[in-house]
Amino acid sequence: MSAVADTHTQEHHHGPARGISRWLLTTNHKDIGTMYLVFSFAMFLLGGSMAMVIRAELFQPGLQIVEPEFFNQMTTMHGLIMVFGAVMPAFVGLANWMLPLMIGAPDMALPRMNNWSFWLLPCAFLILVSTLFMQGGAPNFGWTFYAPLSTTYGPPSTTFFIFAIHIMGVSSIMGAINVIATILNLRAPGMTLMKMPLFVWTWLITAFLLIAVMPVLAGVVTMMLMDINFGTSFFDASGGGDPVLFQHVFWFFGHPEVYIMILPAFGAISHIVSAFSRKSLFGYSSMVYAVGAIALLSFIVWAHHMFTVGVPLAGQLFFMYATLLIAVPTGVKVFNWVTTMFRGSLSFEAPMLFAVAFIVLFTIGGFSGLMLAIAPADFQYHDTYFVVAHFHYVLVPGAIFGIFAAAYFWLPKWTGHMYDETLAKTHFWMSFVGMNLAFFPMHFLGLAGMPRRIPDYALQFADFNMVSSIGAFMFGATQLLFLFIVVKCVRGGEKAPAKPWDGAEGLEWTLPSPAPYHTFETPPEIK
């Protein structure tokens, strides 16, 4: 035992290894966090460029740039890459960087597994993206890959897609186990559960959601694999199977997945709003209970994605009521944020701008979610652009603005430099205008009757589609500015103090900026 402890202390004061092996072999939570964030941003640009292809084709009616087959590949890959490649890894990256710093731990609990769960991701996405170059093209059945379109009628590359999903699932589950082990075991003495920062709380709950639903996703793609390659008929009606079963299993994963992509953002936003209001968060414990309630409810609402498949009346009513219920804890969170700002001392640096936009625009996405929950009205909204508008409002200004806000908030801690505030504000305003221009008109398109996932449309939809495309190009181009801002901040800039934001609270601000390679080797005391 003492021998082990000795080697440990000897290794402690090593800095990072040099060259490529630092990144390939690292078990340091900061390095792994950085790799997750860089990977996620690369996927964000890749998935975004696919969105640009989609919006270019939809710029005006008629087929002009891509064929319908390729258009379907673009919508599918855009969705898969954004969900599994951009948003989820970004949150895991933030968790890797921030969880140990926030709870006073020296590293994640399972550092070697941490390394593996990151390096699985590039492999998974290499497989997924390579399907674009295969005969018959990439998956073209939508990111929801409904059977039998994805089984009997899927392209030959579907098996590669299934394998990629399996690897991503393994990576996510390992990441989640690591988060839970870290939070439950490595908190500094005195940090009780109800003293944990909200980002830690939301990630703990997210990790449980991941462990609960990623195996369900693995199950459904395995059933597809069997149907495609081994002659089973889980989803093939002509063999006695049930295509609707696919949707039940998929959405049992899919709905909690939606919260997996938003809960960590809830946590980060809570810190940022409080910091830039210079006032402690209103209703901390109700925030924790609200996140718990949302997570539990997320397991009993899945069939609201399936109101038109012919669910029996009683089922329809149950899922409508349960879905409406989610609005209550979500409302509590929004009210708490607003009350935190109320009578504070507000300033609007880039993280706060993104956080305020998050609250307003996520709430708008919540409102359209409430409308979609009304089952009879959903018959008109379902599978139209109204739904596209809804989930982009919760994901872009929700998940993605949440990630930008967190990135700007913690960049000084990561790099030791302040980012360029003017450029960051430009990034915000261009993103804000572009995003609203791109997605708000989609509400109108959906209500006027435009179905989603079509490469060409009737003439009455032409004007709003053009506006939407212009907004999307603007939003897309602006993201290159973020890359520039981050690179500039890493390379230099005004020296960041340990605590650059006067209203910020938390253990991470007790460390110097940039945070040293090894931190909290002796745990801090929490009073």
Partner: protein, 376 residues
């Protein structure tokens, strides 16, 4: 609505955006109430929930923007020091809950009514195919397919787009006004979804399932919709068009349909010439086969093989008939035996064997097709 002229370059299109005189489409913002009781109820639910959201939004964002304007550090505002208030927190849990209950009551009533498919005057079976709809009048024993009628030249921007671009079909569904029509929806291949916004009816057509929906239209007219469940490459090209007509007009139409079905059966017995078969075959090919195998027979491999010079289209006639009539399981190739008449099957096989340089000289007659089907 003015119809879009020739293909616009992006620059011109941008100008069009800025100048109202050039704006072509309409800027519809909201759902339309539709023409049925159901769609009107949905519309009023939609408006109610929308106004509830607007009201909550005004209050929440109002407080927020007030704070943003009034409680700024730059104006020297000092932060207050409160961080919880049990009464307020309980209140803003209970009030939204009460609003939701109030909202759920009318929604439930509408839903119960939408699910009541009993006492229908007329049953129509709607079957989704990649990428067309089949309508079968169950009690009158006839049916037909409804295909997109927009020419490929309009889609490819070689021709001006017509007024009902992508929302027009060769054979619309015809229903009588003032009658409760029940739809029995299913699918032959993947999942489709049948939607007519003006009716407030959207229901998935799923292989192996029969879903029900109903409609009672009071106003005669032409109503347009689309498939709303991603169903493959031509998902955007399978519109729904319904004509609601007065009862007497409907009765005449049914009589015509029955007579036409009879005439079609007689055609099977007629002696066809090669030219007649080729002409009819080309027509059938363009509406039924060209969306996958392409108008020039080149296909889009590997999912949709080329027919030009293919082993099947130039080989044994029986093998060719077999794949057209029975399809090929595990692929997108459907069994067309029940979708097309003997005449059309004979014509299309003849056409495929002699078009694009597949000069086999073979002629397949409707009688041969009938014999082939009877042997099975």
């Amino acid at each position: 609505m003015r119809v879009r002229g020739k293909r616009l370059t992006p620059v011109v299109a941008l100008l069009g955006l800025l100048s109202p005189a050039m704006a072509m489409a309409d800027w519809t913002l909201n759902m339309s109430p539709g023409v049925t009781g159901t769609s009107n109820q949905i519309f009023s639910l939609h408006m109610t929930i929308l106004w509830i959201c607007v009201a909550i939004g005004v209050v929440v964002f109002g407080v927020m923007f007030w704070s943003i304007l009034a409680h700024r550090k730059s104006q020297g505002h000092k932060p207050a020091n409160f961080h919880e208030n049990t009464v307020v927190e309980i209140l803003w849990t209970i009030v939204p809950f009460a609003i939701l209950v109030a909202m759920a009551i009318p929604a439930t009533a509408t839903l119960v009514e939408m699910y009541d498919t009993t006492d229908a005057d007329l049953d129509i079976r709607v079957t989704g195919y990649q990428w067309k709809w089949q309508y079968e009048y169950v009690d009158q024993e006839f049916g037909y397919f409804s295909n997109l009628a927009t020419p490929a030249d309009q889609i490819r921007n070689r021709q001006n787009k017509g007024e009902n671009y992508l929302l027009e079909v060769d054979n619309p569904l015809v229903i009588p006004v003032g009658q409760k029509v029940r739809f029995l929806l299913t699918s032959n291949d993947v999942i489709h979804s049948w939607w007519v916004p003006a009716f407030g009816v959207k229901k998935d057509a799923i292989p192996g399932f029969i879903n029900e929906a109903w409609v009672k239209v009071e106003e005669p007219g032409t109503y347009r919709g689309q498939c709303t469940e991603l169903c493959g490459k031509n998902h955007g090209f399978m519109p729904v068009v319904v004509e609601a007509v007065p009862q007497d007009e409907y009765d005449t139409w049914v009589a015509d349909q029955k007579a036409a079905a009879e005439k079609e059966r007689e055609l099977t017995q007629k002696d066809w010439t090669m030219e007649e078969l080729m002409a009819r075959g080309e027509q059938t090919y363009q509406t039924t086969c060209a969306s996958c195998h392409q108008p020039d027979g080149s296909g889009s491999p590997p999912a949709f093989p080329a027919l030009k010079g293919s082993a099947i289209a130039t080989g044994d006639v029986q093998g060719h008939l077999d794949i057209v009539v029975n399809g090929k399981s595990g692929t997108a190739m459907q069994a067309f035996g029940s979708q097309l008449s003997e005449v059309d099957l004979a014509a299309v096989v003849t056409f495929e064997r002699n078009a694009w340089g597949n000069n086999t000289g073979d002629m397949v007659t409707p009688k041969q097709v009938l014999d082939f089907k009877n042997q099975q």
